[in-house]
Symmetry: C2
Subunit: 98 residues, 2 copies
Amino acid sequence: MEVKEFYSTEEKQLARFAKALSHPVRIYICDLLSKQTCCYSGDLAEEVPIARSTLSQHLKELKNAGLIQGEITPPKIKYCLNKENWAMAQKLFTEFFK
Amino acid sequence: MEVKEFYSTEEKQLARFAKALSHPVRIYICDLLSKQTCCYSGDLAEEVPIARSTLSQHLKELKNAGLIQGEITPPKIKYCLNKENWAMAQKLFTEFFK
DNA sequence: CCTTCGTTTCGTAATTTTACGAAATACGAA
DNA sequence: TTCGTATTTCGTAAAATTACGAAACGAAGG
């Protein structure tokens, strides 16, 4: 028997997006990706003052939250916003603050 | 000598707000407060499926992030949105997703 | 003054997050 | 196939988050 969920899908999804954005470097990355179309992990690594492995973890979290996606273009990996989910996040936040 | 900050004030502030909103119960609380004007910790405790002490911790986090404020009206405490910071969060998120 | 009510703080535990360097992986080029 | 480049995963450690119940607290009422 399923325990009844207290929180709505929207609430959980919004919290999930918020969590993905709860670190300055992830804000920075998304901001960059929303301005230019895409970027490479390596290019980011040169800008951002953290280890590459740590950056990779942050990218993974954004990816898990669905906000970005990575496209392999050997030997690099090109990251872009996931437009669909980005729009959904935008909508959820807009609703929330309305 | 101050180490130069990599992240801008806006980035850090946005991450801070996002962090405050990164848990469903805190989304729930803010949502409630944005719809009705105010509410009491006790009333929340009856709705929400967590211990009162845990709820108190969540309220504290929202307060620390500046999103809500508590007003003592003995023997209860009335919580409201902090309108000024709420507007700021709204603006930062709107900018961010634009 | 002592009790009660509403709430928060304390003590504690389990889990998650953040961070790093070393090692592993994937792929194209030599 | 071996090398070099780009990136991720692993192993690890420190710190933060989330959760609970018990205890403490502050103000009003008896």
